[in-house]
Amino acid sequence: MSDKISRRDFLKLAGVGAATTAVLTGCGPAARLVQREPYTKMPEYTYNGLSTYYATTCRECSAGCGLIARTYQGRAIKVEGNPNNPVNLGKTCARGQATLEGLYNPQRVRGPIKHSRGQSLYGSDNQNVESNMSWDDAIQVVADALSKNQPNEIAFLMGMAPDHLFDLITDLTKAINAPAPIRFGALGMFEARTTLMQAANDLLGQSGLPFFDIGNADLVFSFGANFLETWLSPVAQTRGYSSLRRRNPNQRGYFVQFEARMSQTGAKADEWIPITPGTEGLVALALGSLMVTASGASLPAAYSNVDVNSIANVSGVTLDTLKRLANMFAGSAHPLAISGGAALGQSNGLQTAEAVLTLNALVNNIGKDGGVFLSPLAPLADEYHRPASIREMDDFVAKLQSGSIKVLFVHGVNPLFELPKSIALRDAFKNVPQIVSFATFPDETAVQADYIFPDKHGLESWGYQKVAAGAGSSTLSGAQPVVSGVYTADGAVPQIFYDARATADVLLAAAQKAGGTLASALKFKDELEYIQSQLKGLLGNTDGFFSAAEINTFTAYFQQNGGWWKTSDDRVAPSASNALNKTFNATPAQFVGDGELYFVPFVEPVMAEAGANKPWLQEIPDPTTTVVWNSWVEINPDTAAQLGVDNDDVVLISSDAGSVEASVYKYPAIRPDTIAMPFGQGHTAYGQFAQGRGVNPFDLLSNATNEAGDLAFASMKVSIKKTGKKRQLSRLEGVIGVYENFGQQP
């Protein structure tokens, strides 16, 4: 069959998939590459007054939710969830909705820029720095960097999403024998993916990201997992939560949350158990031990060292409560225990993850509906390549520090913001002669780079993303450009405002320029050709949502449907035979510093790590505190009274690693010995909406890790000092209505 299919052929084929096209009208019919241009040169299928819809993938986090973008005369107007994508089934989160504010953000890098490190990428008047080199020169820079350095002097640092670019760069590094690209993201660190996988590997003997089937459970014990917020795949898990509550009309699923600070997820729990930070695993062990004891069976190895009384003491959960909860868990038909969030970000995080898995094994729900599975492997994936843990990042930074890396390529991640300050990446950068950033936005890392070669925004890009979590079926989310570029209408002639180029295209072109093995290994005309070469692996596969025998047809369907996924249940049911045999030391967590307060950083649920440059996300209130546009520190009102601080007082929080100042929010649902701070603000670059707003709690963290190598981000003990300053927090809630005596609930 020819490379191009005719319009007639396409229409015939489209008839086959008519059921799926009800909401999807966009796909590239006659040509491989559809040009989308502003309305002065209107393509024939763009009608005035009618919208065109394109299926693509959300790039705001690495969950890989499918989107359908509504476009109108060449502009993207709105995104909705793709109802067919198994990850999100037509739903989106707030971040996904705001992705258009990234696309049309006033502070995108305007074009390839050579710049001196540290210089801002937009002026005081918020005007973006002009591009000062051509793309040809940019490609030459990349080609030189790839060909003139030794392979082991080249490093790639990438974002968390396992996408086509990761595959391409993996191929590239393989071709020249360079070290494999490292992937990292602050969210992955907060999720403790490494710990979760390590725990699964240790107890279930199989590596993979655990899949917690919340939707089919009827009792959920969550140990610190903020699964309704940013953890793994929030949209899918929220759907699961919804099903937990309403699946069975006669019995509403019950939900208990163990955490020191009530998170948005904890707020939805029927019971919120404020336990001492770092004792989550101990409580899980105690519950298991009590369950076994109550049933009269002999204690398995896992519970041999468990002293229930001392755990009750150290965790602050009474023995009665433990017994009641143990009974509840034992008596439930489909109980499920989840670990995550701050519970794993402790020195004993791996023990906690394993203790919780053991609890699941005890009720025999491993690999059963409403229990624990391993996430299905995405199509085209040989294994799940997890993002780097902090220990690996520490090693990577040490490598940069040593000066053995001559050129660093950064894409899709903002490590200077997303890594704790105690991991001295900024210093390490000084020993890297050349840093190339592919950032779309002028983030902190781009500011420290020598070259910025802006990638296109997710909605302008081709691609696919291997879904790692959330979907029950093996899923490859597909992306396609929904707009051809951002234009401003200055006068009659539209002009390109942002001259971005797909990083894959840049690398492919550079590979050709570099010549040698690189050129022959990456003989692709452009990004799409590379993607098609990968997708060829799926041709003829009949267990998918659609199938096609020929690559252009397959690509057309792939674009039209927003990806390819199996229709089967692909969750992996591991063996739990050895899960109860591991003995635990049952040690409480170790804390860093001698402050009197536990410090719990958490990801701001709406904004997360990269939402700060989108004004809508800044203005959408935090679900628990309703604060907008800034950072705050949550302190129990009693503790605040002892410290003599009130709402909006600025306090100095110091740990062994550093100190920050933030305004006080008297938060009633936090332990008096704990304070909490959101992560997401505190940018020193990243556009006018983000820069200079709030503080980054990472400045307070040391590089202490748990046993698996994930950052022990909740292991700091801090002290608080009044500064005497006051800075009013903007909140949606009326303080007098919600907190003062007049406030009686409606």
Binding site: G734, I736, G737, V738, N741, F742, G743, Q744, Q745, P746
Partner: protein, 476 residues
Amino acid sequence: MSAIAKALPRLRPEEMEDPKEHLMHDPMPRGDMNTMVLDSMHTATWKYWTVVTILAFIVVTCLGYAWYYLIMQGLGVSGDDRPVYWGVFLVNFVYWIGISHSGTLTSAILRVLKIESRRPFTRVAELMTAFAIVNAGLSVFMHMGRVWLAYWMIPYPNERTIWPDFHSPLMWDFMAITTYLICSSLYLFLPLIPDLAMVRDRSKGWVKTFYKILAIGFRGTEGEWKNLHLAMNIFAFAIIPVAFSVHTIVAWDFAMAIRPGWSSSVFGPYFVSGALLSGVAAVPIVLFLVRSTMKNMKYFLRPEHFDTVGKMLLIISMIWAYFYFNDYIVSWYGGDKWEKILNLFVQTGPQWWLWYLMLFCNIVVPWSILWRKKWRQTPWLMALVGILINVGMYTERYIIVPEMLTINRMPFTWHSYIPRVEIILTIGTFALFLLLYFAASRILPLIPAWEVQEGQEGHILRKIGKARIPTISEID
């Protein structure tokens, strides 16, 4: 004759009131009085022009420029928010409407009741109505989000084919205020005519032409006087219900809303009494200013007039207190959850002191000072009482509008209110009010000379033994 002498208290001569204290019994030849009135209009010192310049400057900047800024920027520069959608502009509106009651309503009531001591100060009071209503209108316009479309409230057949909605209390307000403005302007104008004619007869050149037009050809024939009296009588009676309705409808702006604190059936009379209280309290302030700054005014405006106003104030303050506590006790005893929260908020919330200030100014001050005749007859003290009562009444409106709006049935939205540009614009409206008075004192005779003369002719002192008994001949 001896029976009357016996009936009189036996007072020592020094204890006896000098009837000359009363303007009506201290007659002056008509020509001299006219000259006095004209003199007061024509005498302007450098102090006068300094004050006028300052006021004009304040009006141009605080009112003109600040309003321009407000219109161009939108109401974001004010302090309004959710849930306090109505702020100081509406406070000013209610306040100025209240002030406007002093003039026309007070004057009409006194005229109808034939209170003789009204004669020299009705004009000053009626002018207050006109000027205050200008400010009230301006305040509403400042309040509107899109003031350039304010004419959409006028019911006339138009190309938009949209008619205003007469269900809306704001439309009733619009109609009532327009009616009141027209009626009270006419009511101000009618008694002005003979005085304008007097000025016309005593001036020359273009000034004469000016007053000729204003005096609409009044020559003082018997028929003209008869018609004038008839018209004034009709207006005096007719304007009382109009004035009552105006402030009742202003109260309905609030009372018709389903909000805790506002939705109260007693709001109509309560607002009327409040309007009278602040309006009448403004009279001694203006009287004091006119008396102490303008030439010849000490003859016309005497302690007895302050005394009259003082008595009225005391009674009105009691009426106001009655209505206020009527409203308060009903809402307190009714025990509605929201009313309770609201009362608690007003009395113990962040601005609790406003409530106590209001009670102090509106009740404690008048009740402790106005019972004593000597104090009622002290002009500066009366002016002070007037100012305090106005502060109290302004506070009362502030409590009713932004304070009560803070509390609604959705506690999640309770945000408090801090006025911003409103403060400047409020200063501007007060300056405009004073400036209009200053301008009027040059153009119009502030004392209705003919009414004073008419009164003096009707009053005669008859000697009965040693006593001199004031008697009045029937005028009407």
